[in-house]
Protein backbone atom coordinates (compact mmCIF):
# COMPACT_ATOMS: atom_id res chain seq x y z
CA UNK A 1 0.00 0.00 0.00
CA UNK A 2 2.01 2.88 -1.28
CA UNK A 3 1.23 6.38 -0.03
CA UNK A 4 -0.34 7.18 -3.37
CA UNK A 5 -2.84 4.31 -3.16
CA UNK A 6 -3.69 5.18 0.42
CA UNK A 7 -4.19 8.79 -0.62
CA UNK A 8 -6.49 7.73 -3.46
CA UNK A 9 -8.67 5.66 -1.16
CA UNK A 10 -8.71 8.50 1.29
CA UNK A 11 -9.73 10.81 -1.53
CA UNK A 12 -12.68 8.63 -2.46
CA UNK A 13 -13.94 8.62 1.13
CA UNK A 14 -13.31 12.33 1.42
CA UNK A 15 -15.31 13.09 -1.75
CA UNK A 16 -18.19 10.97 -0.49
CA UNK A 17 -18.40 12.87 2.77
CA UNK A 18 -17.92 16.20 1.05
CA UNK A 19 -20.89 15.44 -1.20
CA UNK A 20 -23.01 14.57 1.82
CA UNK A 21 -22.05 17.77 3.57
CA UNK A 22 -22.59 19.78 0.42
CA UNK A 23 -26.15 18.48 0.27
CA UNK A 24 -26.65 19.59 3.87
CA UNK A 25 -25.05 22.94 3.14
CA UNK A 26 -27.32 23.35 0.10
CA UNK A 27 -30.39 22.88 2.29
CA UNK A 28 -29.31 25.80 4.47
CA UNK A 29 -28.08 27.85 1.51
CA UNK A 30 -31.32 27.46 -0.37
CA UNK A 31 -33.50 28.40 2.54
CA UNK A 32 -31.40 31.42 3.43
CA UNK A 33 -31.15 32.70 -0.12
CA UNK A 34 -34.85 32.10 -0.68
CA UNK A 35 -35.57 34.04 2.48
CA UNK A 36 -33.42 36.99 1.49
CA UNK A 37 -34.96 37.05 -1.96
CA UNK A 38 -38.35 37.17 -0.34
CA UNK A 39 -37.26 39.82 2.15
CA UNK A 40 -37.49 37.71 5.23
CA UNK A 41 -34.89 36.16 7.50
CA UNK A 42 -35.06 32.41 7.02
CA UNK A 43 -33.84 29.90 9.58
CA UNK A 44 -32.28 31.70 12.54
CA UNK A 45 -33.27 29.76 15.64
CA UNK A 46 -31.28 26.58 15.43
CA UNK A 47 -27.67 27.42 16.16
CA UNK A 48 -25.93 30.70 15.40
CA UNK A 49 -27.61 32.31 12.40
CA UNK A 50 -29.52 29.11 11.84
CA UNK A 51 -26.43 27.20 10.74
CA UNK A 52 -27.51 24.00 12.46
CA UNK A 53 -30.83 23.93 10.59
CA UNK A 54 -29.77 21.12 8.23
CA UNK A 55 -28.87 19.02 11.25
CA UNK A 56 -32.34 19.60 12.68
CA UNK A 57 -33.85 18.65 9.32
CA UNK A 58 -31.88 15.42 9.14
CA UNK A 59 -32.79 14.46 12.70
CA UNK A 60 -36.45 15.18 12.01
CA UNK A 61 -36.39 13.03 8.89
CA UNK A 62 -34.68 10.20 10.73
CA UNK A 63 -37.31 10.12 13.41
CA UNK A 64 -40.25 10.05 11.04
CA UNK A 65 -42.06 6.80 10.48
CA UNK A 66 -41.06 4.85 7.40
CA UNK A 67 -44.30 4.26 5.53
CA UNK A 68 -45.05 2.00 2.64
CA UNK A 69 -48.45 1.83 0.96
CA UNK A 70 -49.95 -1.64 1.15
CA UNK A 71 -50.44 -1.96 -2.56
CA UNK A 72 -46.91 -0.84 -3.35
CA UNK A 73 -44.39 -3.25 -4.79
CA UNK A 74 -42.06 -3.62 -1.80
CA UNK A 75 -38.85 -4.43 -3.63
CA UNK A 76 -39.12 -1.68 -6.23
CA UNK A 77 -40.38 0.79 -3.63
CA UNK A 78 -37.22 0.24 -1.62
CA UNK A 79 -34.95 0.10 -4.67
CA UNK A 80 -35.94 3.37 -6.32
CA UNK A 81 -34.38 5.84 -3.84
CA UNK A 82 -31.27 3.67 -3.73
CA UNK A 83 -30.87 3.94 -7.50
CA UNK A 84 -31.36 7.71 -7.40
CA UNK A 85 -28.86 8.27 -4.63
CA UNK A 86 -26.26 5.86 -6.05
CA UNK A 87 -26.30 7.41 -9.51
CA UNK A 88 -26.04 10.88 -7.99
CA UNK A 89 -22.90 9.96 -6.06
CA UNK A 90 -21.40 7.90 -8.89
CA UNK A 91 -21.59 10.73 -11.39
CA UNK A 92 -19.25 12.86 -9.30
CA UNK A 93 -16.58 10.15 -9.25
CA UNK A 94 -15.09 11.20 -12.58
CA UNK A 95 -15.25 14.95 -12.04
CA UNK A 96 -11.84 16.48 -11.31
CA UNK A 97 -11.86 19.31 -8.85
CA UNK A 98 -8.22 20.23 -8.46
CA UNK A 99 -4.86 20.03 -10.08
CA UNK A 100 -2.06 17.72 -9.01
CA UNK A 101 -1.39 18.12 -5.36
CA UNK A 102 1.15 16.45 -3.17
CA UNK A 103 -0.72 17.04 0.08
CA UNK A 104 2.10 19.16 1.48
CA UNK A 105 4.76 16.70 0.38
CA UNK A 106 3.27 13.60 2.00
CA UNK A 107 3.16 11.71 -1.28
CA UNK A 108 5.93 11.67 -3.85
CA UNK A 109 3.97 12.12 -7.09
CA UNK A 110 1.07 14.44 -7.53
CA UNK A 111 -2.39 13.16 -6.72
CA UNK A 112 -4.98 14.54 -9.02
CA UNK A 113 -8.15 15.44 -7.21
CA UNK A 114 -10.39 13.13 -9.18
CA UNK A 115 -11.63 9.86 -7.82
CA UNK A 116 -11.46 7.92 -11.07
CA UNK A 117 -9.38 9.10 -13.97
CA UNK A 118 -10.96 7.72 -17.11
CA UNK A 119 -10.26 9.20 -20.48
CA UNK A 120 -13.92 9.04 -21.51
CA UNK A 121 -15.02 10.99 -18.45
CA UNK A 122 -17.64 13.11 -20.19
CA UNK A 123 -19.39 10.06 -21.58
CA UNK A 124 -19.40 8.46 -18.13
CA UNK A 125 -21.14 11.50 -16.66
CA UNK A 126 -23.69 11.33 -19.43
CA UNK A 127 -24.19 7.58 -18.97
CA UNK A 128 -24.84 7.87 -15.25
CA UNK A 129 -27.21 10.76 -15.85
CA UNK A 130 -29.22 8.48 -18.14
CA UNK A 131 -29.31 5.81 -15.44
CA UNK A 132 -30.79 8.12 -12.86
CA UNK A 133 -34.05 8.16 -14.82
CA UNK A 134 -34.74 4.69 -13.41
CA UNK A 135 -34.91 5.84 -9.82
CA UNK A 136 -37.70 8.22 -10.72
CA UNK A 137 -39.66 6.00 -13.03
CA UNK A 138 -39.55 3.09 -10.58
CA UNK A 139 -40.55 5.36 -7.70
CA UNK A 140 -43.55 6.52 -9.68
CA UNK A 141 -44.59 3.03 -10.69
CA UNK A 142 -44.01 1.16 -7.45
CA UNK A 143 -45.96 3.59 -5.29
CA UNK A 144 -49.12 2.41 -6.99
CA UNK A 145 -50.79 5.79 -6.66
CA UNK A 146 -52.06 7.99 -9.44
CA UNK A 147 -50.13 11.11 -8.47
CA UNK A 148 -46.92 9.18 -8.22
CA UNK A 149 -47.40 7.42 -11.52
CA UNK A 150 -48.19 10.60 -13.41
CA UNK A 151 -45.34 12.45 -11.75
CA UNK A 152 -42.91 9.63 -12.39
CA UNK A 153 -43.80 9.24 -16.06
CA UNK A 154 -43.76 12.98 -16.72
CA UNK A 155 -40.52 13.48 -14.88
CA UNK A 156 -38.74 10.68 -16.69
CA UNK A 157 -40.08 11.81 -20.07
CA UNK A 158 -38.76 15.28 -19.26
CA UNK A 159 -35.37 13.89 -18.28
CA UNK A 160 -34.89 11.80 -21.38
CA UNK A 161 -36.00 14.67 -23.60
CA UNK A 162 -33.52 17.13 -22.14
CA UNK A 163 -30.72 14.56 -22.24
CA UNK A 164 -30.50 15.16 -25.97
CA UNK A 165 -29.71 18.85 -25.69
CA UNK A 166 -27.43 18.05 -22.74
CA UNK A 167 -25.45 15.63 -24.87
CA UNK A 168 -25.24 17.96 -27.84
CA UNK A 169 -24.00 20.82 -25.66
CA UNK A 170 -21.34 18.43 -24.32
CA UNK A 171 -20.50 17.47 -27.90
CA UNK A 172 -19.83 21.08 -28.89
CA UNK A 173 -17.34 21.41 -26.05
CA UNK A 174 -15.72 18.19 -27.24
CA UNK A 175 -15.31 19.62 -30.71
CA UNK A 176 -13.49 22.63 -29.32
CA UNK A 177 -11.41 20.74 -26.78
CA UNK A 178 -10.57 17.67 -28.90
CA UNK A 179 -10.58 15.32 -25.95
CA UNK A 180 -13.09 13.36 -23.90
CA UNK A 181 -11.16 13.54 -20.65
CA UNK A 182 -12.37 16.20 -18.24
CA UNK A 183 -8.86 16.84 -16.95
CA UNK A 184 -7.62 17.58 -20.47
CA UNK A 185 -10.51 19.93 -21.09
CA UNK A 186 -9.80 21.86 -17.92
CA UNK A 187 -6.10 22.06 -18.63
CA UNK A 188 -6.83 23.47 -22.05
CA UNK A 189 -8.49 26.41 -20.32
CA UNK A 190 -5.42 27.50 -18.43
CA UNK A 191 -3.83 30.81 -19.21
CA UNK A 192 -5.27 33.99 -20.62
CA UNK A 193 -5.73 35.88 -23.86
CA UNK A 194 -4.04 39.29 -23.94
CA UNK A 195 -3.20 38.74 -20.30
CA UNK A 196 -6.68 39.71 -19.20
CA UNK A 197 -9.41 37.42 -20.45
CA UNK A 198 -9.09 33.86 -19.16
CA UNK A 199 -9.19 31.15 -21.78
CA UNK A 200 -12.46 29.74 -20.57
CA UNK A 201 -14.70 27.94 -23.01
CA UNK A 202 -17.65 30.07 -22.00
CA UNK A 203 -16.21 32.81 -24.17
CA UNK A 204 -15.90 30.42 -27.10
CA UNK A 205 -19.23 28.72 -26.48
CA UNK A 206 -21.68 31.13 -24.86
CA UNK A 207 -24.70 29.46 -26.41
CA UNK A 208 -23.36 26.06 -25.46
CA UNK A 209 -23.06 27.13 -21.85
CA UNK A 210 -26.63 28.40 -21.76
CA UNK A 211 -27.96 25.27 -23.42
CA UNK A 212 -25.97 23.07 -21.05
CA UNK A 213 -27.12 24.90 -17.97
CA UNK A 214 -30.77 24.91 -19.05
CA UNK A 215 -30.65 21.22 -19.89
CA UNK A 216 -28.90 20.57 -16.59
CA UNK A 217 -31.61 22.37 -14.65
CA UNK A 218 -34.24 20.33 -16.46
CA UNK A 219 -32.30 17.12 -15.85
CA UNK A 220 -32.20 17.73 -12.11
CA UNK A 221 -35.91 18.55 -12.04
CA UNK A 222 -35.38 22.00 -10.58
CA UNK A 223 -37.44 25.08 -11.14
CA UNK A 224 -38.60 26.34 -13.50
CA UNK A 225 -38.75 22.77 -14.83
CA UNK A 226 -40.01 21.10 -11.68
CA UNK A 227 -43.59 20.54 -12.72
CA UNK A 228 -43.49 16.80 -12.05
CA UNK A 229 -42.61 17.31 -8.42
CA UNK A 230 -44.36 20.56 -7.70
CA UNK A 231 -46.45 20.57 -4.59
CA UNK A 232 -49.14 22.75 -6.04
CA UNK A 233 -49.62 20.61 -9.10
CA UNK A 234 -49.09 17.00 -8.33
CA UNK A 235 -48.84 16.59 -4.57
CA UNK A 236 -45.08 16.11 -4.85
CA UNK A 237 -45.23 13.80 -7.84
CA UNK A 238 -43.12 10.69 -7.77
CA UNK A 239 -42.03 11.01 -4.16
CA UNK A 240 -45.54 11.49 -2.77
CA UNK A 241 -45.65 8.17 -0.97
CA UNK A 242 -42.15 8.29 0.44
CA UNK A 243 -41.33 9.40 3.95
CA UNK A 244 -38.41 9.50 6.32
CA UNK A 245 -35.09 8.29 5.00
CA UNK A 246 -36.32 7.23 1.56
CA UNK A 247 -37.56 10.75 0.99
CA UNK A 248 -34.28 12.03 2.37
CA UNK A 249 -32.46 9.95 -0.23
CA UNK A 250 -34.44 11.49 -3.09
CA UNK A 251 -33.80 14.90 -1.64
CA UNK A 252 -30.11 14.09 -1.30
CA UNK A 253 -29.98 12.77 -4.86
CA UNK A 254 -31.50 15.98 -6.19
CA UNK A 255 -29.02 18.22 -4.41
CA UNK A 256 -26.05 16.09 -5.35
CA UNK A 257 -27.18 16.06 -8.97
CA UNK A 258 -27.27 19.84 -8.80
CA UNK A 259 -23.74 19.89 -7.44
CA UNK A 260 -22.56 17.49 -10.16
CA UNK A 261 -24.13 19.53 -12.96
CA UNK A 262 -22.53 22.68 -11.56
CA UNK A 263 -19.18 20.93 -11.17
CA UNK A 264 -19.23 19.62 -14.73
CA UNK A 265 -20.30 23.05 -16.02
CA UNK A 266 -17.39 24.60 -14.15
CA UNK A 267 -14.97 22.08 -15.60
CA UNK A 268 -16.27 22.41 -19.13
CA UNK A 269 -16.98 26.11 -19.45
CA UNK A 270 -15.54 28.06 -16.56
CA UNK A 271 -11.98 26.79 -16.45
CA UNK A 272 -12.27 24.37 -13.55
CA UNK A 273 -9.66 25.10 -10.95
CA UNK A 274 -7.64 27.63 -12.91
CA UNK A 275 -7.73 31.22 -11.76
CA UNK A 276 -5.47 34.18 -11.11
CA UNK A 277 -3.45 34.77 -7.98
CA UNK A 278 -3.49 31.20 -6.70
CA UNK A 279 -1.02 28.48 -7.46
CA UNK A 280 -2.16 25.19 -8.94
CA UNK A 281 -2.23 23.25 -5.72
CA UNK A 282 -4.97 25.31 -4.10
CA UNK A 283 -6.93 25.67 -7.30
CA UNK A 284 -9.78 23.82 -5.64
CA UNK A 285 -10.64 27.07 -3.89
CA UNK A 286 -11.41 28.64 -7.25
CA UNK A 287 -13.38 25.53 -8.15
CA UNK A 288 -15.48 25.88 -5.02
CA UNK A 289 -16.12 29.53 -5.77
CA UNK A 290 -17.28 28.83 -9.31
CA UNK A 291 -19.46 25.92 -8.30
CA UNK A 292 -20.92 28.07 -5.56
CA UNK A 293 -21.74 30.78 -8.09
CA UNK A 294 -23.59 28.34 -10.32
CA UNK A 295 -25.46 26.90 -7.33
CA UNK A 296 -26.48 30.40 -6.32
CA UNK A 297 -27.80 30.86 -9.83
CA UNK A 298 -29.81 27.64 -9.47
CA UNK A 299 -31.41 28.79 -6.23
CA UNK A 300 -32.00 32.27 -7.59
CA UNK A 301 -33.81 30.86 -10.64
CA UNK A 302 -36.02 28.69 -8.49
CA UNK A 303 -37.32 31.53 -6.42
CA UNK A 304 -37.63 34.02 -9.25
CA UNK A 305 -39.20 32.32 -12.23
CA UNK A 306 -42.66 30.74 -12.38
CA UNK A 307 -42.69 27.14 -13.37
CA UNK A 308 -43.34 25.84 -16.86
CA UNK A 309 -46.46 23.82 -17.48
CA UNK A 310 -45.66 20.30 -18.61
CA UNK A 311 -46.56 20.67 -22.26
CA UNK A 312 -44.73 24.00 -22.44
CA UNK A 313 -41.72 22.32 -20.89
CA UNK A 314 -41.71 19.47 -23.42
CA UNK A 315 -42.24 21.85 -26.30
CA UNK A 316 -39.35 23.98 -25.10
CA UNK A 317 -37.07 20.95 -24.83
CA UNK A 318 -37.81 19.52 -28.26
CA UNK A 319 -38.61 22.53 -30.38
CA UNK A 320 -36.36 25.20 -28.97
CA UNK A 321 -33.45 23.74 -27.03
CA UNK A 322 -32.69 20.81 -29.32
CA UNK A 323 -32.49 22.84 -32.56
CA UNK A 324 -30.43 25.46 -30.71
CA UNK A 325 -27.95 22.86 -29.56
CA UNK A 326 -27.73 21.34 -33.04
CA UNK A 327 -27.09 24.76 -34.58
CA UNK A 328 -24.50 25.43 -31.89
CA UNK A 329 -22.72 22.19 -32.73
CA UNK A 330 -22.72 22.95 -36.45
CA UNK A 331 -21.41 26.49 -35.99
CA UNK A 332 -18.78 25.25 -33.54
CA UNK A 333 -17.61 22.55 -35.91
CA UNK A 334 -17.44 25.04 -38.78
CA UNK A 335 -15.55 27.50 -36.62
CA UNK A 336 -13.04 24.90 -35.48
CA UNK A 337 -12.42 23.84 -39.06
CA UNK A 338 -12.04 27.41 -40.27
CA UNK A 339 -9.82 28.72 -37.53
CA UNK A 340 -7.96 25.40 -37.15
CA UNK A 341 -8.23 25.53 -33.40
Amino acid sequence: MTPLVAAQIGLAIFVFFMLLSSAAAMVYFERKVAAFLQQRVGPYLVGPKGLLQPLADVVKLMFKEELRPMAADAFLFALAPIISATCAFAAFAVVPFGGDTTLFGLIPEGLRLQVADVNVAILVVFAIASMSVYGIVLAGWSSNSKYSLLGGLRSSAQMISYELSYGLALASVLVVANSLSLTDIVNRQAGTWFGVIPRWFIFLQPLGFLVYLTAGIAETNRAPFDFPEAEQELVAGYHTEYSSMSFAMFFLAEYINMVTVSAVATDLFLGGWHGPFLSETIGWLWFLLKVGAILFFYVWMRWTLPRYRYDQLMRFGWKVLLPLSVVNLLVTAAGVLYFEL
Partner: protein
Protein backbone atom coordinates in the same frame (compact mmCIF):
# COMPACT_ATOMS: atom_id res chain seq x y z
CA UNK B 1 -6.44 -16.22 -10.32
CA UNK B 2 -5.45 -12.90 -11.69
CA UNK B 3 -7.68 -9.95 -11.07
CA UNK B 4 -8.68 -9.89 -14.73
CA UNK B 5 -9.87 -13.49 -14.55
CA UNK B 6 -11.79 -12.83 -11.33
CA UNK B 7 -13.48 -9.84 -12.85
CA UNK B 8 -14.27 -11.76 -16.02
CA UNK B 9 -15.92 -14.61 -14.13
CA UNK B 10 -17.79 -12.23 -11.87
CA UNK B 11 -19.22 -10.21 -14.76
CA UNK B 12 -19.93 -13.35 -16.77
CA UNK B 13 -21.79 -14.91 -13.84
CA UNK B 14 -23.89 -11.76 -13.38
CA UNK B 15 -24.69 -11.61 -17.10
CA UNK B 16 -25.70 -15.26 -17.38
CA UNK B 17 -27.65 -15.28 -14.14
CA UNK B 18 -29.55 -12.09 -14.97
CA UNK B 19 -30.36 -13.35 -18.47
CA UNK B 20 -31.67 -16.62 -17.07
CA UNK B 21 -33.82 -14.71 -14.62
CA UNK B 22 -35.03 -12.41 -17.41
CA UNK B 23 -36.57 -15.30 -19.26
CA UNK B 24 -37.82 -16.83 -16.02
CA UNK B 25 -39.67 -13.87 -14.51
CA UNK B 26 -43.41 -13.55 -14.71
CA UNK B 27 -43.54 -9.85 -14.01
CA UNK B 28 -42.24 -7.99 -17.08
CA UNK B 29 -40.95 -5.07 -15.01
CA UNK B 30 -38.59 -7.37 -13.14
CA UNK B 31 -37.48 -8.79 -16.48
CA UNK B 32 -36.57 -5.32 -17.71
CA UNK B 33 -34.65 -4.49 -14.54
CA UNK B 34 -32.75 -7.78 -14.64
CA UNK B 35 -31.86 -7.13 -18.27
CA UNK B 36 -30.45 -3.77 -17.24
CA UNK B 37 -28.28 -5.61 -14.71
CA UNK B 38 -27.15 -7.94 -17.49
CA UNK B 39 -26.25 -4.96 -19.67
CA UNK B 40 -24.24 -3.50 -16.82
CA UNK B 41 -22.27 -6.74 -16.56
CA UNK B 42 -21.69 -6.72 -20.32
CA UNK B 43 -20.46 -3.15 -20.09
CA UNK B 44 -17.95 -4.33 -17.50
CA UNK B 45 -16.83 -7.05 -19.90
CA UNK B 46 -16.29 -4.47 -22.63
CA UNK B 47 -14.09 -2.52 -20.23
CA UNK B 48 -12.07 -5.67 -19.64
CA UNK B 49 -11.72 -5.98 -23.41
CA UNK B 50 -10.13 -2.51 -23.62
CA UNK B 51 -13.21 -1.03 -25.27
CA UNK B 52 -14.24 1.94 -23.10
CA UNK B 53 -16.25 3.48 -25.92
CA UNK B 54 -18.37 0.37 -26.40
CA UNK B 55 -18.83 0.08 -22.63
CA UNK B 56 -20.06 3.63 -22.24
CA UNK B 57 -22.37 3.64 -25.24
CA UNK B 58 -23.78 0.31 -24.05
CA UNK B 59 -24.89 2.09 -20.87
CA UNK B 60 -26.03 5.25 -22.63
CA UNK B 61 -27.94 3.60 -25.49
CA UNK B 62 -29.05 0.20 -24.22
CA UNK B 63 -29.42 0.58 -20.48
CA UNK B 64 -30.26 4.26 -20.55
CA UNK B 65 -32.56 4.63 -23.52
CA UNK B 66 -33.85 1.36 -24.98
CA UNK B 67 -34.68 -0.11 -21.59
CA UNK B 68 -36.42 3.10 -20.55
CA UNK B 69 -38.56 2.66 -23.65
CA UNK B 70 -39.37 -0.92 -22.66
CA UNK B 71 -40.18 0.18 -19.14
CA UNK B 72 -42.49 2.92 -20.37
CA UNK B 73 -44.36 0.51 -22.63
CA UNK B 74 -44.73 -2.07 -19.87
CA UNK B 75 -46.04 0.57 -17.49
CA UNK B 76 -48.39 2.23 -19.93
CA UNK B 77 -49.85 -1.01 -21.15
CA UNK B 78 -50.20 -2.23 -17.57
CA UNK B 79 -50.24 -5.66 -19.08
CA UNK B 80 -51.60 -8.61 -17.18
CA UNK B 81 -49.08 -11.27 -16.35
CA UNK B 82 -49.03 -14.03 -18.82
CA UNK B 83 -51.62 -16.75 -18.27
CA UNK B 84 -53.16 -19.22 -20.63
CA UNK B 85 -56.17 -21.46 -20.18
CA UNK B 86 -53.88 -24.28 -19.13
CA UNK B 87 -52.58 -22.06 -16.37
CA UNK B 88 -56.03 -21.33 -15.10
CA UNK B 89 -56.70 -25.06 -15.05
CA UNK B 90 -53.44 -25.74 -13.37
CA UNK B 91 -53.94 -23.06 -10.77
CA UNK B 92 -56.10 -25.49 -8.93
CA UNK B 93 -53.17 -27.86 -8.83
CA UNK B 94 -50.36 -25.46 -7.97
CA UNK B 95 -47.60 -24.10 -10.17
CA UNK B 96 -48.47 -21.68 -12.94
CA UNK B 97 -44.96 -20.57 -13.69
CA UNK B 98 -44.51 -20.26 -17.46
CA UNK B 99 -41.21 -22.08 -17.52
CA UNK B 100 -42.61 -25.09 -15.68
CA UNK B 101 -45.14 -26.08 -18.27
CA UNK B 102 -43.86 -29.43 -19.52
CA UNK B 103 -43.98 -28.91 -23.27
CA UNK B 104 -42.21 -25.58 -23.71
CA UNK B 105 -39.79 -26.23 -20.89
CA UNK B 106 -38.46 -29.46 -22.25
CA UNK B 107 -38.30 -28.32 -25.84
CA UNK B 108 -36.79 -24.98 -24.88
CA UNK B 109 -34.18 -26.51 -22.61
CA UNK B 110 -33.24 -29.12 -25.20
CA UNK B 111 -32.93 -26.48 -27.91
CA UNK B 112 -30.86 -24.22 -25.71
CA UNK B 113 -28.44 -26.96 -24.71
CA UNK B 114 -28.12 -28.11 -28.29
CA UNK B 115 -27.47 -24.57 -29.43
CA UNK B 116 -24.82 -23.99 -26.79
CA UNK B 117 -22.95 -27.15 -27.72
CA UNK B 118 -23.09 -26.35 -31.40
CA UNK B 119 -22.02 -22.72 -31.02
CA UNK B 120 -19.17 -23.54 -28.67
CA UNK B 121 -17.90 -26.19 -31.05
CA UNK B 122 -18.13 -23.87 -34.04
CA UNK B 123 -16.58 -20.84 -32.36
CA UNK B 124 -13.67 -22.52 -30.64
CA UNK B 125 -12.78 -24.73 -33.56
CA UNK B 126 -11.36 -21.91 -35.62
CA UNK B 127 -8.63 -20.66 -33.31
CA UNK B 128 -5.42 -22.26 -34.51
CA UNK B 129 -3.48 -20.14 -32.00
CA UNK B 130 -4.45 -20.45 -28.41
CA UNK B 131 -6.61 -17.39 -28.91
CA UNK B 132 -4.76 -15.15 -26.52
CA UNK B 133 -5.22 -11.45 -26.85
CA UNK B 134 -2.34 -9.51 -28.39
CA UNK B 135 -0.66 -6.98 -26.21
CA UNK B 136 -1.31 -3.77 -28.08
CA UNK B 137 -4.21 -1.52 -27.25
CA UNK B 138 -7.10 -1.23 -29.64
CA UNK B 139 -7.79 2.12 -31.21
CA UNK B 140 -8.79 5.05 -29.05
CA UNK B 141 -12.08 6.86 -29.35
CA UNK B 142 -10.45 9.29 -31.75
CA UNK B 143 -9.41 6.43 -34.01
CA UNK B 144 -12.94 5.03 -33.90
CA UNK B 145 -14.33 8.40 -34.84
CA UNK B 146 -11.97 8.81 -37.75
CA UNK B 147 -12.77 5.34 -38.99
CA UNK B 148 -16.50 5.93 -38.63
CA UNK B 149 -16.43 9.05 -40.71
CA UNK B 150 -14.07 7.82 -43.41
CA UNK B 151 -14.36 4.08 -44.00
CA UNK B 152 -17.85 3.63 -42.66
CA UNK B 153 -19.27 7.01 -43.56
CA UNK B 154 -21.96 5.58 -45.82
CA UNK B 155 -23.16 3.16 -43.17
CA UNK B 156 -23.19 6.01 -40.66
CA UNK B 157 -25.40 8.18 -42.83
CA UNK B 158 -27.71 5.29 -43.63
CA UNK B 159 -28.03 4.59 -39.91
CA UNK B 160 -29.18 8.12 -39.26
CA UNK B 161 -31.86 7.76 -41.96
CA UNK B 162 -32.81 4.44 -40.37
CA UNK B 163 -33.32 6.06 -36.98
CA UNK B 164 -35.41 8.80 -38.54
CA UNK B 165 -37.60 6.23 -40.29
CA UNK B 166 -37.96 4.22 -37.07
CA UNK B 167 -38.93 7.36 -35.16
CA UNK B 168 -41.59 8.32 -37.68
CA UNK B 169 -42.87 4.76 -37.84
CA UNK B 170 -43.12 4.39 -34.08
CA UNK B 171 -44.97 7.69 -33.72
CA UNK B 172 -47.44 6.84 -36.48
CA UNK B 173 -48.03 3.28 -35.29
CA UNK B 174 -48.57 4.15 -31.66
CA UNK B 175 -50.87 7.08 -32.26
CA UNK B 176 -54.47 6.83 -31.25
CA UNK B 177 -57.05 7.24 -34.00
CA UNK B 178 -59.72 9.27 -32.24
CA UNK B 179 -57.82 12.08 -30.55
CA UNK B 180 -54.17 13.08 -30.64
CA UNK B 181 -52.94 10.98 -27.75
CA UNK B 182 -49.49 10.63 -26.19
CA UNK B 183 -46.83 9.50 -28.64
CA UNK B 184 -43.85 7.31 -27.93
CA UNK B 185 -40.43 8.89 -27.65
CA UNK B 186 -38.10 6.44 -29.41
Amino acid sequence: MSSEATLFYAFAAIAVLSSLLVIGQRNPIYSVLLLIASFGALSGLYLLLDAPFAAVIQIIVYAGAIMVLFLFVVMLLNAPREETDEDLDREAHGETHPLLRPGPMRLGAALAVGLIVELVWALTKGGGESGQFPGGAVGSVGAIGRSLFSDYAFAFEVTSVLILVAMVGAVVLARREASPGPSEHP
